[in-house]
């Protein structure tokens, strides 16, 4: 498809504004504190929306729609279980230490609380993770632009990252956060009409639920699963999970869901990931810093309607077949075509030797049954369509282009990441299309800028200033921060090519979080709430936890995967899980538990290196409670947090 002038105009206006914000802010960028920390001067509503938006990358939009189609409403657990409680915990219990300690980054807090080793370890793993995360989202965006608009993959990568580069270089963290807020509104206002049209088209909420009941009973029809489930598997959040891994399309048991996702991964992500915590640390005062995650929690709770619902609508529409809609199918790679086309020709040769058509149809059925394996493609193919193709080819040889087109048409594997774009294509006339694509661009840019600003701060303060070049001038560090922003973006482009090789980006991200964040939350939990935790305990506990992730990854796998370095079980299969997701949740649970136990035992066995006096402001029991006399009772974080938790609980019960 091609875009109209109006679509390009909207995209250009958007790019003009984000770059313009960068330039407008550049005159406020005088010191390192301005560039890396926004001079701790940002109002709380901006921090809150930036906090939310930095996490709302293209990965979230595309991945959540994909999961919505694949797993239905249970995907909301990534929000209601996997985000809200942790965000409120961060606001009420952890923010006072992050903000009050005057640490400039999460690794720096670790240095204050424990020692340099833990900081160095965390800085390195975090730096790797941010680059990976931004590479994955960059890849997604470029792939979408390539498949929808036919834009060149590399050119899309370069143009999009160049825009991010310009505004981050110009305005530092402030510019990243300000544009994130703009992007937040752009994403919401750009996708809302598409969701609205989709819901209207399928006939409203209850019609969609009816269609999803059909999907649960016969998921093979649309290719989203291989066996039937109970009718409510796509429309209930908890019932299918409680019924066990075989009863829900996620293949997850309730323990892995609650402990693995709801506790370890969720708290590990929201409470220790500098990418999001950095947004709250830039707030103008303690009260604003604590309000940041709370302000973010309310829209976060409602986001499933924007990001998960489209996936559910898509799978429902495909099931009913209304308007001829089909879920997008995986594209056959250009490199795979020549061999497959040749295979079609080879297989169909024997057909030609059969004299009459009656014999042919009998033989063809037999050959076609085998043909998907004879035609060596990684995708699953529809045997009926292959049979027809072979018959036609044997009747009279077809041109290569036609064979290619019909092979592609026979693919049955769903391209989950393409779902969101298939809806844009279906519902957007020119104009709205420009707006929706701009929303997609915005989500990608906010995610990338978030990663890049966290990366440059950690690199500059926690690695460069700490170990490579201490005692340089402030201007020198700002210069370094800018240089490393460029480096970070170049590395992300490299990672995008790595990510291109793997189909479900969300699974990879969860895996990386399991490696990095899951054990880290144990370190923070013990560090912030147990004065007895020692630096030896923290360091060896964290290393042990991360090694546990690695071992777990090397020796376990998920059903249906081929063992390998990325999919797991490279060194042997000791344990097989029903799905990738279940495996990730369990990996996180093991890594967390190992780190927790190791840290606790080693701490008890070693002597404390920091006195109570040194730990003041860093550990809960040794710090005076935050008491802000200017704060009105209704803006107190614990109260607001409690209200939000109740609201979140009600949502869970409603969609039980």
């Amino acid at each position: 498809m091609h875009l109209h002038l109006i679509d390009y105009a909207i995209m250009l206006i958007y790019v003009g504004f984000v770059v313009g914000i960068g330039f407008a802010l550049s005159r406020y960028m005088r010191t390192g504190a301005d560039f890396f920390l926004s001079g701790r001067s940002i109002p709380s509503w901006v921090c809150g929306l930036a906090f939310l938006s930095a996490n709302l990358g293209a990965l979230e939009l595309v991945g959540m729609a994909a999961s919505g189609a694949k797993y239905g409403i249970a995907t909301c657990h990534f929000y209601w279980l996997g985000a809200i409680p942790a965000m409120i915990f961060l606001a009420v219990f952890m923010m006072p230490f992050y903000y009050g300690s005057k640490a400039r980054s999460v690794p720096e807090y670790l240095k204050m609380r424990f020692d340099e080793r833990t900081r160095a370890f965390n800085s390195c793993t975090f730096a790797v993770m941010t680059v990976f995360a931004s590479g994955i989202s960059l890849n997604l965006l470029a792939q979408l632009l390539e498949s929808l608009l036919g834009w060149n993959y590399l050119a899309s990568l370069l143009v999009c990252s160049a825009v991010v580069l310009v505004y981050v270089l110009k305005g530092g963290l402030t510019s990243a956060m300000y544009t994130e807020v703009l992007q937040f509104f752009m994403i919401v206002l750009g996708f809302a009409p598409v969701v609205w049209l989709g819901l209207k088209d399928i006939g409203g909420w209850s019609a969609m639920k009816d269609a999803l009941r059909g999907v649960a009973l016969d998921p093979q029809k649309v290719g989203v699963n291989t066996h039937a489930f109970a009718p409510d598997a796509w429309t209930s959040a908890w019932k299918p999970v409680i019924a066990g891994p075989a009863a829900n399309p996620m293949g997850v048991d309730v323990f892995a869901m609650v402990f693995g996702l709801g506790f370890v991964l969720s708290f590990g992500y929201w409470c220790t990931n500098f990418l999001v915590v950095q947004r709250a640390m830039a707030a103008k005062d303690m009260a604003s810093a604590r309000r940041t995650p709370i302000i973010a929690a309310l829209p976060k709770m409602l986001f499933p309607a924007l990001v998960i619902l489209p996936g559910m609508i898509a799978v429902g529409l495909a099931f009913t077949g209304k308007g001829g809609y089909e879920l997008p199918k995986v594209q056959i790679a250009d490199g795979d075509f020549p061999a497959a086309v040749q295979a079609v020709k080879n297989v169909s040769t024997p057909y030609a030797s059969f004299g009459h058509t009656e014999v042919l149809s009998g033989q063809a059925a037999e050959l076609a049954a085998k043909s998907p394996s004879v035609i060596q493609l990684p995708q699953k193919l529809d045997p009926d369509k292959i049979e027809a193709l072979l018959k036609d080819e044997s009747a009279s040889p077809l041109p290569d282009d036609q064979i290619k087109a019909r092979l592609q048409d026979a693919v049955t594997d769903v391209d989950y990441n393409g779902i969101i774009l298939s809806l844009l294509k279906k519902y957007c006339p020119p104009g709205l299309m420009g707006l929706a694509l701009t929303a997609l661009l915005a989500s990608f840019m906010s995610g990338m800028a978030g990663n890049v600003t966290a990366f440059n701060t950690v690199w500059t303060y926690d690695l460069y200033q700490a170990y490579i070049a201490p005692n340089k001038s402030d201007a020198h560090y700002v210069f370094m921060g800018k240089m490393v922003t460029v480096v970070g973006i170049v590395l992300s482009i490299g990672c995008a090519y790595v990510a291109r090789e793997f189909p479900n980006a969300m699974d990879i991200v969860q895996l990386v979080f399991g490696f990095v964040n899951a054990p880290l939350f144990a370190t923070f939990l013990l560090g912030m709430f147990w004065a007895r935790a020692t630096s030896h305990g923290a360091f060896f506990g964290l290393v042990g936890g991360t090694l546990t992730s690695a071992l777990f990854h090397l020796f376990t796998m998920a059903t249906g995967n081929t063992p390998g370095w990325i999919k797991g079980a490279a060194l042997g299969t000791m344990w097989t899980f029903p799905s990738d997701m279940a495996r990730n949740f369990w990996l996180a649970s093991f890594a967390f538990t190992t780190c927790f136990l190791l840290t606790a035992f080693i701490s008890l066995a070693t002597r404390r290196t920091k006195s109570d006096e040194e730990l003041k402001g860093l550990v809960y029991s040794l710090t005076d409670k935050v008491d802000d006399p200017h704060q009105t009772w209704y803006s107190s974080p614990p109260l607001l947090g409690a209200v939000l938790l109740v609201f979140c609980l009600l949502l869970n019960l409603y969609f039980w």
Binding site: I6, S38, P193, Y427, P430, G431, L432, L435
Partner: protein, 68 residues
């Protein structure tokens, strides 16, 4: 920070909103709206964006006036 964020947000959405409204008026009744279930979605949603942008601008301008 010296920049009131409501200003650029108000500007961009009222600008894009206005653009969509004009485009929607110019293409009213066009077959392109079969995609959006027969609704002139550009006109409708452009209006929504314009109102949102205008509200943001109003907040930003009144804050700036108070400051003076």
């Amino acid at each position: 920070m010296g920049l009131d964020l409501r200003l650029p947000i108000g500007m961009i959405f009222s600008l894009i909103g206005a653009l969509l409204v004009i485009y929607g008026l110019a293409t009213n009744g066009d077959p392109i709206y079969q995609a959006s279930l027969g609704l002139n979605i550009n006109l409708i949603w452009g209006g929504v964006l314009f109102v949102f942008g205008a509200i943001m601008l109003a907040f930003a301008l009144s804050a700036a006036r108070k400051k003076k």
